[in-house]
Structure formats: C-alpha cells, structure tokens
C-alpha cells in the first residue's frame, strides 16, 4: 500500500517535471542551432546589418528588417487594443450594469477563441479591401496596417478582460470615498480606480504586447513576405514569425545555414517575449497593492 502511494507520487512528480524538460528542450534546441549559425555569421552583422536575404544567392543576415516588421505590426495592434480595451474595461467595471457585464465579457472573450488563421483571412479579404476603398490604391495588397489592426482586435479581450478584473478588484470603499467628495464616475474611474489598478492593467498590456509579437498566422497571411527596414505601414513587410513559416513551407536542406536562420530568429523571439513576460510577473509581484 505504502509502495503504491510512493509510486503514484513519483509518477505525478514526473508529470510536473515534463514542463521543466520542455523549457530545457526549447532553450537547448535554440542554443545548439544558434551556435551553429553564429559560427558562420558574425553576431555584429546579425544585429546591425540592414538587409535580410538568407534565401538569395547574395546572403545578408541582418535581423533589423524582420525586427522592424514585428515592431511595426505590434505597435499598430497595441494602438488599437489598448485605448479600446481600457475604455471597455472601465465602462464594464464602473458604468455598465452587472447583467450587461456578465453577458458582454464572455462574448468579448469569444474573440480570443477564434483561430488566428481566421483572423488572417479577415485581414486579407475584408480589412485590406476596406482600407483600400477608403484610402485609395496607395495601400498595397500586403501591408502592415491591416494585419496590425486585426491583431489588435485579437488581443483586445486580453487587455479588456484582465484590466477589468484588476479594476473590479479595487475595493468599494475607495469608490465610495471618491463619490462622497462629489466626484463623478469619470473622475473616480480615471483618478482613483485606474491608479489603484495600474499594476494589473500594465500586466495585461505587457502580456498583450508579448502575444502580438509572437503572433504568426495573421501577419504571415496579410503582411507579406518582404523583409524591409521601414516603418511605412502601407507596404509589404515581413515579421520574425512569418520568416520562420516561410522557411518551413519551402524545402531548405537540414543543417544548412538557411535552416539555422530560423533558430537564430526563434531565439530572438524567445528572448524578447521571455523578458516581457517576466517584466509582467515582476510588476504583478512588486506593485500589487494590498487593500484591506
């Protein structure tokens, strides 16, 4: 009997350790292939060269064009999701009646359940033609603005739901104190509740940014596959994630330099999202206000 208990505990421990092996596996795989990559390409070139052409005969390995593509689409997504998401969060937590809130919040979260390839279709087949009909033909068929906007819609529930949770968790007596001083709901929301929930809100925004940086299919479908060091949202670009997909779709021989580039790009992606995620954990821990 005692032995059986011991065996079960060890089995369950092993299940928990699978997650550690996963992390070790990811870091190991990325590092091994990246070492191979940097034995052929100097790390200075990788970080400073302004051309990314590993698949052409004149190979250049500067990650900046891919990085700028990722940053551009992420910035557009954040510019859509943060103002919209925060307004929704404040409306739902401070203004809306509870029944409305209980229906609307899950409905918004459906946006997060939609597979990203569907958003890609929406960006390419609906948003881009819509923008072209508004702004004219200056907008290329593949561009950064349309997937950026759609990505913003994808991360909207992340911002609105997590921020709303943070706002809702602020104790009632802070609101009542503010109302008693004659403040309107607007003043209370922005000057009392918002600062009190700031750590929770910043966590939600950082997680949304991290999600946007790692998002693949929307940009792979609608942003194009042309690495270009630009912040012009109307022309085709390529993000880091799209590049990995592009190489995976072709038949690049294993252990060639072209093959290793996807791991070098992958480790860049991993490091950026890892830092952002840990910044959010740190903020959550450090600035979590405790009200009694």
């Amino acid at each position: 009997m005692n032995l059986k208990e011991k065996i079960i505990e060890k089995l369950l421990l092993f299940c928990a350790l699978v997650t550690i092996f996963t992390t070790a596996g990811i870091i190991g795989v990325l590092l091994i292939q990246t070492f191979g990559f940097f034995s052929e390409v100097s790390i200075i070139d990788f970080l400073t060269d302004t051309e990314w052409t590993p698949l052409f005969s004149n190979k250049r390995f500067g990650i900046l064009p891919l990085l700028s593509g990722t940053i551009l689409t992420t910035l557009i997504a954040v510019a859509v999701a943060v103002p919209l998401g925060l307004t929704i969060a404040i409306y739902l937590s401070e203004y809306a009646n509870p029944t409305f809130r209980n229906y609307v919040k899950p409905a918004l979260e459906v946006l997060a359940a939609v597979p990203t390839v569907v958003y890609g279709f929406f960006a390419l087949e609906f948003v881009t033609p819509l923008l072209q009909s508004i702004f004219g033909s200056g907008l290329a068929g593949f561009n950064a603005i349309s997937p950026g906007i759609v990505m913003g819609i994808m991360i909207l529930p992340l911002v609105s739901s997590l921020s709303e949770d943070a706002l809702y968790a602020v104790p009632k007596n802070l609101r009542e104190g503010s109302y008693a001083l004659g403040s309107t709901k607007y003043q209370t929301a922005w000057k009392v509740i918002f600062p009190a929930a700031f750590s929770g809100i910043s966590v939600s925004v950082i997680l949304a940014i991290s999600r946007a940086i790692g998002e693949t299919m929307i940009v792979a479908i609608a942003a194009g596959q042309q690495p270009r060091l630009t912040f012009d949202p109307t022309v085709p670009i390529e993000t880091m994630t799209t590049y990995i997909v592009q190489v995976s779709m072709g038949d690049v021989p294993h252990n060639s330099i072209e093959y290793r580039t996807i791991f070098a790009v992958g480790i860049m992606l991993f490091v950026i999202t890892f830092l952002l995620n840990n910044l959010s954990f740190y903020l959550k821990k450090r600035y979590q206000e405790v009200y009694q």
Partner: protein
C-alpha cells in the same frame, strides 16, 4: 480677499455641469467601444458566412484535395484535425492533470514546486511557433518521427500543457480542505482521498479546462507548419505515423492562392473550423456551468 476666494470656489462649482457632461459622454463612448468589439465579431462571422456558406455541402466535406477549386474538399484536413485532436488529448490530458495534482496536492510550498510554477507561467507566454521549432528538432528529427501525426500531437501537447495544469489546479483549489480532512479522518491514504473524493468533486472544472485547451490546439497552424505538416496530402491519415494536414493549414494554403475561387473554399473551410471551435467552447461552458451548479459546499 475672502470674496475672491469664494468667487473662485463658485467658478469651480460652475464646472460641475462640465464634469457631469464629461461623465455622460464617456459613458456613451464606453458603450460604443464595447459594442464595437462585439460588432467586429459579428462582422467577421457575417463576412465568412457570406463568402463561404454556399460552398459548404456534403461533397465539400468528403472530397479529397484538388488543384481545381470547385472539386477540392476538406476530407483529409478534417480527418487530420480529428487525429490531432484525439492524440493530443490522450497525451496532454493525463500529463497535465498529473502535474496539476502534484503541484496542488503534493508539492505545496516546496522549492521544486515553486520553480515548476514560475516555469509554467513562462511557458504559457512562449509563442506557439517556438514550440514548433522544439518539435521539429526534438520529435521530427532527433526521435526520427518526421512530420507525422505523433510529432504534431506531442508538440501541441507541450503547447497546451500549461493551460491544462493551471485549470486543473484551479478546479482542485475549489474543493474545500475539510473534504480532504474528513477522508483522512476515516483512514484513507493520500491517493485514496484524491481518487475517491477530490477528483470526483473537481472533474467538471478539470474537463472544462481540458476542452478549452484542446480547442486551442486544433486552431493552431504555425507550430504544425514548422514541424513539417504538409499542405497537400492526397489520402486521409490512418495511423499516428502518417503524414497529415489539418483544417487551419488547408485554410492557410487556400488563402495563399491568388484565385478568387480558392478564397471561397477558404471561407467555407473556416465555417467548418469555427463550428468545431464554437461547439467545443459551448461544451466547455456547459461543464463550467455544471461545475458551478452541482456542488454547493
């Protein structure tokens, strides 16, 4: 001096109407933003339905892929999705629930469990395409499984493991400690307590999390492309070592083609894909509702 002060106060009081107006305006802006968010969902659905609904029929579901858009179907794609769904569930569910049990029931407050917890939070934030790179090197190449269903299922299992673990822990947390103590009081061992008391009381919550995680897995495209799933598979998969395609990859493949007829096919496949996603989410909501309703401690 005093009059000046009073006048200043009065002026501020006059601002009261301004603040009220500002408050009202924001209320409507907030409502508009909220409705806009939900409206986008409906626009997306309407757009897809309008473009693809007429294309969805029995033949579309049962036809093999073809270079001619009007003859192409999604048979191999949804069979592949089904294979991936089942094999991912078989791998990820026991491991995820096991890990959740260990962290919540056994490893509380020990250093290892703490480390595992931080690690899980980090894994949950790793972009899915990175898991694809792991699967490509580890399963497809090092273990020589190639671009098979097994490689895909193992990769997606690792991807959704954090979700299953976190939701399992939440479900276990909702079982009050007194239940465990009563069981121990009757002489039950730790595992007997877990198996006969804790798990039955939390099973609805655990299943909710697992279904949502699986639903996320079958919507994934990028990691499967990276491990080498194909976009053209002439025959339906019949075992876990077969090469395969899935609905999202089929959709991606059709979207990437310039001809308008393929966009129609993509929209039709999206309708099937979304039906599966929403059905699974619906089932999950049902289980969550049951979990909340059934047990009142």
């Amino acid at each position: 001096m005093k009059a000046k002060k009073i006048r200043r106060r009065l002026r501020r009081f006059k601002n009261f109407r301004k603040y009220e107006l500002q408050d009202k305006i924001f209320q409507y802006v907030g409502l508009a933003c909220t409705l806009f968010g939900i409206g986008i969902l409906f626009v997306l659905l309407a757009d897809v339905l309008m473009k693809g609904l007429t294309r969805v029929d029995w033949d579309f579901l049962m036809d093999l892929p073809s270079r001619k858009a009007e003859r192409a179907g999604i048979y191999t794609a949804w069979i592949g999705t089904l294979w991936i769904m089942v094999s991912t569930a078989v791998i990820a569910f026991p491991v995820g629930v096991g890990a959740g049990l260990y962290l919540e029931e056994y490893g509380k407050r020990n250093k290892l469990a703490n480390f595992v917890e931080i690690n899980i939070a980090n894994l949950a934030g790793v972009p899915s395409i990175i898991y694809g790179l792991l699967g490509l090197e580890l399963f497809a190449r090092a273990l020589s499984l190639g671009g098979s269903i097994l490689t895909g299922a193992l990769t997606l299992s690792l991807l959704i493991l954090p979700i299953i673990i976190v939701s399992t822990r939440e479900a276990l947390k909702s079982v009050p400690y007194t239940i465990r103590e009563a069981s121990y009081g009757l002489g039950a061992t730790k595992w007997q307590t877990i198996w006969y008391q804790v798990l039955p009381a939390s099973v609805s919550g655990i299943i909710t999390g697992a279904i949502l995680a699986i639903s996320r897995a079958i919507g994934e495209t990028a990691p499967l492309i990276v491990i080498g799933a194909l976009s053209y598979v002439p025959f339906a998969a019949s075992g876990v070592m077969d090469s395969f395609t899935v609905l999202p990859i089929q959709i991606f493949n059709w979207i990437s083609r310039p001809q308008e007829e393929f966009a129609v096919n993509a929209a039709a496949a999206i309708i099937v894909m979304l039906s599966i996603t929403f059905l699974m989410n619906g089932i999950a909501v049902f289980f969550r509702y049951r979990a909340q309703k059934k047990i009142k401690w």
